[in-house]
């Protein structure tokens, strides 16, 4: 065993000494290789963290949302609808929601207005402070998301005026700002009470924007939704797992776009690496001849080259991965944020908790380290099986 290690160390010594002879060229290759891993790993880590965050947060969203469709478009839920839903077996906690959009010409951004309907929706209500927070704002008061507050430059206690769609001017006192670390879901929210909401939007009495409900037996969500769709043919039930799947696919898609853009760079590197690794110079061929003549076995030559490929690709992979981690989670992915995050006038500020997907990292490892190691090996194989007497004749 010791002897084996000693042999491998000698082979590593030799391969490193050979690499050191063309320092700039090999260092350049290592750098480009590490850079490529860095870019790929950045995209992967960012997308995986965002996906994870979305899944965690949206796990608490309503189990089923029921929309009413008119001519294929989302429409108001008329009076009596909620009662009809209540008659379906298995349905619990039916609540109408009131929400809509308001375009604020001052900052050219869209806000999401939402009326806080009493009755808390889930187990979170049991936590201290939760009930106060979920209590509807008093008349003439609003609670705003911290993204909005930042963008409009307002704070708790200020008065905000909006011109409603009916043309009337409404002034609201800001009673509070939602926690800044929840901006990912609340950046553009304006919370009002029900009466203010209906007055501001001229919302027809007893109508709702949509209806949320939960199902007694979580395994029957799909069956219940099916029953709802049958009983109310103009409704469209949306399930929680569909919501979360939507977000999964959005980030998959954005990641995919990024990777597609990068694929050209990947190909370019593949060509470069292939050329560098597989193009055996006359000098190297001669050296292999010398090594074989002075007593190296073909296997030794191949092992030596394998070490070269492994050392280069492994250090490039590790360096690239570590740099990507630091970039995404300690420098907020400054380099790729525009492409990965997308764009909006009112964009939430948020930090991401790392959610390292082991499978993805492993995949990246195998797709970078192995091909390079093999690219190094292929030509050596051909060169190493030549007769050692070539050196004498040459």
């Amino acid at each position: 065993m010791n002897q084996w290690i000693a042999r491998q160390r000698y082979l590593v010594d030799f391969t490193l000494a050979s690499l050191a002879r063309r320092k700039t060229k090999n260092a350049g290759l290592l750098l480009v290789f590490a850079l490529l891993v860095f870019v790929l790993a950045s995209v992967m880590l960012f997308a995986s963290a965002l996906r994870h965050e979305a899944t965690m947060v949206l796990a608490h969203s309503p189990e089923v949302i029921l929309q009413r469709m008119v001519a294929g478009r989302h429409d108001l839920v008329p009076p009596g609808y909620v009662e009809r839903i209540g008659r379906i077996r298995g349905v619990q906690k039916i609540e109408g929601r009131l929400w809509g959009y308001y375009y604020d010409p001052v900052v050219k951004a869209n806000y999401t207005f939402m009326a806080v309907v009493p009755a808390p929706a889930s187990g979170f209500a049991a936590r201290p402070g939760a009930r106060e927070a979920s209590a509807p704002p008093a008349a003439g008061e609003i609670v705003v998301g911290s993204g909005l507050a930042r963008h409009r430059g307002v704070q708790s206690g200020n008065v905000l005026s909006f011109r409603s769609y009916s043309g009337k001017l409404f002034s609201f006192r800001i009673a509070g700002v939602l926690p800044a670390d929840s901006e990912l879901v609340s950046a553009d929210l304006v919370l009002t009470n029900q009466a203010d909401f209906r007055a501001f939007f001229d919302y027809p009495a007893d109508h709702w924007t949509d209806v949320t409900l939960s199902v007694a037996n979580p395994q029957e969500v799909r069956t219940v939704a099916q029953k709802l769709a049958n009983a109310l043919p103009d409704s469209r039930p949306i399930l929680r797992d569909e919501v979360s799947r939507t977000y999964q696919s959005i980030f998959d898609w954005r990641e995919g776009i990024m990777l597609a853009l990068l694929s050209a760079a990947i190909l370019a590197f593949a060509i470069l690496a292939w050329d560098k690794a597989s193009g055996l110079s006359a000098e190297e061929k001669r050296e292999i001849g010398i090594l074989k003549a002075i007593g190296w076995e073909t296997g030794d030559v191949i092992r030596m080259k394998l070490w070269e490929g492994l050392l280069v690709s492994l250090s490039a992979f590790l360096a690239g991965y570590v740099a990507a981690y630091a970039h995404v989670f300690h420098f907020s992915a400054v380099l790729f944020a525009p492409v990965l995050k997308g764009w909006a006038v009112l964009y939430p500020k948020f930090t991401l908790a790392p959610a390292i997907d082991g499978l993805q990292v492993t995949t990246l490892f195998f797709f970078t380290v192995l091909p390079y190691a093999t690219a190094v090996l292929v030509p050596i194989w051909r060169a190493a099986v030549t007769d050692p007497d070539a050196v004498m004749r040459g």
Partner: protein, 112 residues
């Protein structure tokens, strides 16, 4: 005596490996510190029955994509470009269009 290149390489690789392993520890640490923020967001989601991330506020099909009308791109904001996977060059993956995942709407309900 000079340091052997193999010792140098082993040192560098070991150091890189340690740093790479440290990213996992750091990830666990960041996750713990981030738990409060996730909790806040999750609480809001639960209290107000929120369904979407406030990432793209320009159009309703991007702000509330989970509850947007079906097939509704290019509606609201002139810069609200197509964000749906169907707008890309490839069709959505098969597993999304298979029966198990088909949306529970009127059409599927009637076909039973």
């Amino acid at each position: 005596m000079k340091v052997r290149p193999s010792s140098l390489a082993a040192g560098v690789l070991a150091a890189l490996g340690c740093v790479a392993a440290a990213t996992f520890l750091d990830a666990a640490r960041l996750q713990r510190t981030h738990a409060v923020a996730t909790e806040h967001a999750a609480m809001l989601v639960a209290q107000f029955g929120l369904t979407d991330l406030a990432l793209f506020t320009e159009a309703r099909y991007t702000r509330h994509r989970a509850v947007a009308d079906l097939h509704s791109a290019f509606q609201d904001h002139p810069f609200g470009l197509e964000h749906f996977p169907s707008g890309s060059l490839l069709p959505p993956p098969v597993h999304l269009t298979q029966a198990r995942h088909e949306p529970v709407d009127r059409q599927t309900a009637l076909s039973r």
